[in-house]
């Protein structure tokens, strides 16, 4: 129901704030431990500033980094008339502004959406996707991506992307300094504090990644549903997913940090890959679409 989708968008906006403050808190916690260890309060201020800057930075620039990492190129209406008009129509149906359209020269079929809000949205498709999908399947896939835009998933996933990388980077620095740092006076630190601090350092990146995965998986189901809702054609989404399953393969330019953005997982699947996947299994997505098919 579209009225519910409006609500999803609104609730995602408030979730963004929760997410950003959550990540800021983790960063400040790391800083707090660090300042205890070195017995200096300046460090926590530096970390606090870093957390703030990181949030602002990922809010404004993550989309540009994503485009660089994936090697996507902006296209216009003349070059990709079919794709462009199809997205135009989806935008009219959903009442969204027209996003910028990018194409990735890549034979593995895939697509993603990014940007901080619907006015600054970007949707990208690989040439492989455009080649193998029929018109209605391509429409379903692009409607899935526009669903991410409409539900503000793009903002959430973009910010998670920026902050997960930041936390990984920070804990890495702190751990290295602890192990290789010079000698200092440790008498005023209780061993308990040290122990808790160490656990925070180890857990922080793991928690960050788990949050990223969980957020991403839920969003995929929702975007599938939005796609079926906009196109009034859940079967097109189902057959697109089946095609992605059979002809889906790892992409040339793999990058864990951008994996959660795509419609189908671009990484090679290993055992751990499956456990910590950013995407629910395609079978589950198809099953949920079929379950809900009579509701559209």
């Amino acid at each position: 129901m579209s009225s519910n989708l409006y609500k999803v968008g609104e609730s995602n906006v408030s979730k963004t704030w929760l997410l950003m403050s959550g990540f800021a808190l983790i960063i400040v916690l790391i800083g707090w431990f660090f300042s205890l260890y070195y017995d200096s309060l300046t460090i926590i201020y530096v970390f606090f500033l870093f957390a703030l800057l990181m949030n602002v930075f990922s809010f404004w620039f993550s989309d540009k980094i994503v485009l660089k990492l994936t090697g996507a190129k902006k296209v216009d209406k003349e070059e990709y008339y079919g794709l462009y008009t199809l997205v135009e129509n989806l935008c009219i149906t959903a009442g969204l502004p027209m996003p910028k359209i990018y194409v990735i020269d890549e034979s593995a079929p895939n697509a993603f959406a990014t940007g901080r809000d619907p006015r600054h949205a970007i949707v990208a498709a690989t040439t492989g996707l455009i080649d193998i999908m029929s018109d209605s399947e391509l429409e379903a896939v692009m409607a899935h991506e526009m669903g991410h835009v409409q539900n503000y998933d793009i903002r959430i996933s973009m910010i998670t992307f920026g902050l997960v990388s930041a936390i990984g980077f920070l804990t890495d620095i702190v751990l290295r300094m602890m192990f290789y740092g010079g000698d200092r006076d440790k008498d005023n630190n209780s061993p308990w504090m040290m122990f808790i601090g160490l656990i925070v350092l180890i857990l922080a990146p793991i928690i960050a990644v788990i949050v990223q995965m969980a957020v991403s998986r839920q969003r995929e189901y929702l975007a599938d549903a939005t796609s079926a809702m906009t196109t009034r054609n859940p079967e097109a989404m189902v057959s697109a997913l089946q095609k992605l399953k059979t002809s889906g393969r790892p992409m040339k330019r793999q990058n864990g940090a951008t994996a959660h953005l795509y419609i189908s997982n671009p990484l090679k699947a290993g055992f751990l890959g499956k456990m910590f996947s950013t995407h629910p299994p395609i079978e589950d997505r198809i099953a949920r679409l079929r379950d809900n098919a009579n509701k559209f």
Binding site: S2, S3, Y81, T85, N89, I92, A94, G95, D135, R232
Partner: protein
């Protein structure tokens, strides 16, 4: 807590609720109006394309004047339509007339090879898809408004402030009417 305090609290709560519902109706009917103007934009684009199309086809098939006449009349009728229902009927007529125009042009190979004609055909198809898309958006918004106008307790506020249900724009989808040859 005195009785006056309780009454005061109730009054404030009711006032807040009325204001909330009122704002909801303002939002919903504005959305529906906006959606209608989106449809209007696309319909106008179609009206603008038609004279060009007729001119182009005339150059190759001058004696099909009956078909041109039908398209022109349907266009004029559609442009003058007042209510949503009238508009829908007129647009259906126009779509039908355009379909017969394209059917006629099938028998003129020179026309079918004409760049201008192909471009116009592409533009028209695109516009028709966009009319369908904006129609869906409009109907979604109208549905939300109508649900709010009819359900309790928002229907009370709708009655007081005269927010009424709007008509759906029922426009037969080309695919539902008759089998269409698909060209890629």
């Amino acid at each position: 807590m005195g009785i006056t305090t309780i009454i005061l609290i109730i009054v404030v709560l009711v006032a807040l609720m009325v204001a909330g519902f009122y704002n909801k109706f303002v939002k919903l009917s504005t959305r529906a109006k906006e959606a209608w103007s989106d449809i209007d934009v696309q319909l106008k684009r179609r009206y603008d394309l038609i004279p060009n199309l007729i001119e182009t086809v005339k150059g190759y098939a001058a004696h099909e004047s009956a078909t041109f006449q039908k398209v022109t009349e349907a266009r004029t009728a559609a442009m003058g339509a007042q209510s949503v229902e009238e508009q829908a009927d007129a647009e259906n007529m126009l779509s039908g007339a355009l379909k017969s125009l394209f059917a006629v042009s099938e028998s003129y190979p020179d026309l079918k090879a004409n760049e201008n004609f192909l471009e116009l055909q592409r533009e028209l198809t695109d516009t028709e898809n966009k009319i369908q898309a904006s129609r869906r958006f409009y109907n979604t918004n109208v549905r939300d408004l109508n649900i709010a106008v009819e359900s309790f307790p928002s229907n009370i506020i709708a009655n007081i402030f005269k927010f009424t249900k709007k008509d759906f724009f029922e426009f037969e989808e080309a695919a539902a009417r008759e089998p269409v040859k698909v060209k890629f």
